[in-house]
């Protein structure tokens, strides 16, 4: 696809035509959340305007229709991730809830004192804290595989830490703070050789490259809809059926039960066992449509386009005096995290904001990683397939203005 086609793609995203402070919005905070295409917005509007009903319980037309659409979204996500069965797709609030679910069910049931969980130094807080909570409860040990100065996982150290005591490995697919693309296939293979189960946090991966959970042989894979051009409040836990079957439920309530008496309750089958209460029905339907939209554009094209954009952005940014890129892994998603001379990320953020440019300044929910690089915060630019070279040029101009202010 050429530049002309990107212009066409941008037509699909109403918010990209907003102006802020009288300037066209340049949205470069896609790792925080992505924008929504018209088709997703329209679908949600349509659902609430014409189809809204609760699912799995009504015996009337609308409920039947809503249930069908909700379950259809599950099928779409199953196809998108290459899962073996739609039973393996659990709808949750997002990546955070999915990881907590696994820690609180699989972790609680199968981990005990002295068992080890291995994570990496580049995890998002959502893949650190749930394991610390489990450590409090169960006396497990949490081990952290180090990263090198480029922001790559040091595989040699990872292998050493992967002892027989490690029962669970939980690793980010693509780092939100650095963009590093981890060798998850190898990680999963090594962990399985030791008999450990593996969760991959795909929150930052799925919008940028094709993922197939069966090819990866991941035991669990998690994602957030809002980082995948879908609404907030919906996400996915993929889990192998045999594991989900063994796991105790997460929350108790409606929909997750088969029958309830005050003496005993039997649980519903998977995935419903993990979907207590009324879910985010419109969100799930929106996610299904977003996934269709993405497949229509083509993840191969997206990956190639973003790779080119990343190379262009890297070159442009490195030409700015005093700019230090944090995260220079060889395999990287379209994230540019940096410091700029003495300028604090927060000041950079304010100056860029007034130029209409939305970026993220801070620790990116990865405080241990910031400490590793000796910074309290970075400025982060994260790209999506609707971003353009012209936007990067404007970013570069605005950053040169920052240099002027702070010289």
């Amino acid at each position: 696809m050429n530049g002309l086609d990107v212009a066409k793609v941008r037509e699909d995203f109403p918010v990209l035509h907003e102006r802020v402070y009288g300037k066209p919005l340049i949205y470069l905070d896609n790792a925080a959340t992505t924008q929504k295409p018209k088709i997703v917005i329209e679908t949600i509007k349509q659902f609430y305007s014409r189809e809204n009903a609760n699912i799995h319980r009504g015996i009337f037309c609308l409920s039947e229709r809503a249930t069908r659409r909700y379950e259809n979204a599950r099928l779409k996500v199953k196809e998108f991730l290459g899962a073996a069965s739609e039973k393996e797709i659990v709808f949750v609030r997002g990546a955070t809830e999915a990881i907590n679910l696994v820690a609180q069910t699989w972790g609680r049931a199968f981990l005990g004192k002295g068992d080890e969980v291995l994570i990496t130094h580049m995890e998002h807080h959502s893949n650190i804290v749930p394991w610390q909570i489990l450590r409090e409860e169960k006396g497990i040990k949490l081990k952290v595989a180090p990263v090198d100065d480029a922001g790559e996982l040091i595989m040699e150290e990872f292998r050493k830490l992967l002892t027989d005591k490690v029962k669970f490995v939980s690793v980010v697919h693509v780092s939100n703070a650095l963009g590093t693309l981890n060798p998850v296939e190898e990680i999963i293979r090594l962990a399985h050789e030791k008999g450990a189960k593996v969760l991959i946090d795909g929150a930052q991966a799925v919008a940028h490259e094709a993922v197939n959970v069966r090819d990866l042989d991941a035991d669990f894979y998690v994602l957030s809809g809002h980082k995948l051009f879908a609404p907030t409040g919906i996400g996915v836990l993929y889990g192998k059926a045999e594991l989900l079957d063994q796991m105790p439920p997460y929350q108790g309530g409606g929909d997750m039960i088969r029958s309830v008496t005050f003496e005993a309750t039997t649980y519903n089958k998977i995935p419903y066992k993990f979907e207590a209460g009324t879910p985010h029905i419109a969100g799930a339907i929106g996610l299904g449509v977003a996934v269709d939209y993405l497949r229509g554009i083509g993840l191969e094209w997206i990956a190639a386009y973003e790779k080119e954009l990343l190379a262009y952005g890297t070159k442009k940014l490195l030409a700015i005096p005093g700019l230090r890129l944090i995260g220079t892994a060889k395999r990287k998603a379209a994230v540019l995290s940096f410091t700029l001379g003495e300028a604090h990320a927060h000041d950079i953020g304010t100056i860029l904001d007034r130029a209409g440019i939305a970026i993220r300044a801070g620790h990116h929910c990865a405080m241990p990683l910031m400490q590793r690089f000796g910074v309290s915060a970075t400025t982060r630019v994260s790209l999506a397939f609707y971003n353009t070279r012209e936007e990067i040029d404007r970013l570069s101009d605005a950053l040169r203005e920052v240099v002027e202010v702070f010289k």
Binding site: E342, H344, H346, T350, R354, S376, E404, V405
Partner: protein, 151 residues
């Protein structure tokens, strides 16, 4: 540069950011407090050496953005030698300046040089950066035992 930005990043603020005054620990401080701005990671300590009711020495230390650092610098410069009541009075003025509606006047007479922060009110997300040192100072001068957080 955009005029609002020029108002925010005035030369005086940039100078204090580059070479902050009283940017050190007071070893024999009579009180101290720690302040956090979780949103952007600003983190600072304020040290006070009181002589009766009077601030004999005041300093700060920490990491933060230009606004928070300049604010700490100019605050310590303004408060040295002042009484507790005067410090509290100035805190109230600064707070009024930062939280006023853009375009409203400030009490330039009372604020003196501190009026350089008048432009911050155009940047609601940055008000906490400018007020962090002040809130931390208030905790040091009249401890509640809490860590100061702008959230």
């Amino acid at each position: 540069m955009n005029p609002d930005l020029r108002d925010l990043y005035q030369q005086m603020i940039m100078d204090h950011n580059k070479n902050p005054m009283n940017f050190r620990e007071i070893r024999d401080a009579t009180s101290r407090a720690e302040g956090f701005n979780p949103l952007c990671g600003d983190h600072l300590h304020v040290y006070l050496k009181m002589n009766g009711d009077r601030i004999e020495d005041i300093s700060f230390e920490g990491a933060g953005c230009a606004i928070s650092k300049a604010s700490g610098s100019m605050m310590t410069a303004a408060l040295k030698g002042k009484t507790r009541a005067e410090a509290e009075g100035l805190f109230a003025e600064v707070r009024a300046m930062l939280s006023r509606e853009p375009g409203m006047p400030v009490n330039a007479e009372k604020l003196g040089k501190l009026a350089v922060f008048a432009g911050v009110c155009e940047f609601p997300l940055r008000v906490k950066c400018a007020s962090l040192a002040w809130h931390t100072m208030m905790e040091a001068i009249a401890p509640t035992g809490k860590q100061v957080s702008t959230e």
